[in-house]
Amino acid sequence: MKLGFLGATEGGRIGKWPIIILAGMVIAVVAFLTYINVAFPRVKCEYAKHLKSPDTASDCYACHLKATPKVAQDWYESKHGVMLVKCFVCHGQPDGKGSVPYAVNPDVNTTCRKCHDPSIKKMEKKYGLKLECNSCHPFHQNSIHHKAYVKPVAKRKI
């Protein structure tokens, strides 16, 4: 059996060797990446399981600075960060003992209204509140820097 270009046999059909070599390479790469993920787990917050075991919740910011650095930094630069409105004020606490329910996306009526009730009422009167506050006012962003207030909803005239 003579092998031609790229291992094609004389009949024009591809031989078995290129397929075996290709499959071997794919298996090697998959095995390598699996090993990397098992031997070197991603750096996670020590209490990354706090959603499942709420009693292990700790200093949110200290962990999330490492686990989710972008969100942590955005909060730090935002008005909420400058005024030290800490995570639990809006997100509640994992054990459910906070003054607001524990939520990744806080509810407008239970959280925003606690402080911003007058402004929300004013907005409702003017425009009728149709969307979540966050669709125009980013919670975790400095309005001077970054891309705050460039969301299309915020620019739309009503």
């Binding site: 390598f32 090993y35 031997a39 070197f40 750096v43 020590e46 490492k66 930094q73």
Partner: protein, 192 residues
Amino acid sequence: MAMKMSSVKMLVVLLIVLALVPVISMSMARTSTTNYCMSCHEMKSHKSELEKSSHAFDKDKKPIECAQCHLPNSFGLKYVAVKVYLGARDMMVHYLGDPNNLDRRKMQQIARRFILDDNCRACHQDLSKNAKGEKISEIGKLCHDAYLGINGSTKSRCVGCHFNVAHLPDFDRRYFFNAKFAKRLQEGEKKR
């Protein structure tokens, strides 16, 4: 006939593999030196940060090499895996990515993932003292006791608590524990 052919082939393959071993080990050793790391311009800022950090020299006044922290200390499966993974990543960013605009937050996470405790413990054997042999604070001692499993336990590795020890990006300079390092870096930047 068929048997003969396959045995000849096997011999050739064996010879090629044997010839590759010194070539691969040599190239691995040569690409693990600080000089090799510095041959890419995007690594220069990391070197200048290291020179201003507390990890510039070890206790014998010998400069600390990149590989001492960033690669496993002993040769083995882990060493090869980390070397291939980080090397391939660096190459990809250098040739296909944007090396002038590195996302250092992402880099910190990747670097921490591959810095093993053994690398730290090679120099920091006694955790009740710092590298100069001075006793550490009471709180520090309690934390290290928890790490060693003497008093409490923690899943955190060395890098889980100790970050910015050798490199300090702009966004981490505001922390009080980085004040000295940040000041040294600032003075160095003024001189330039």
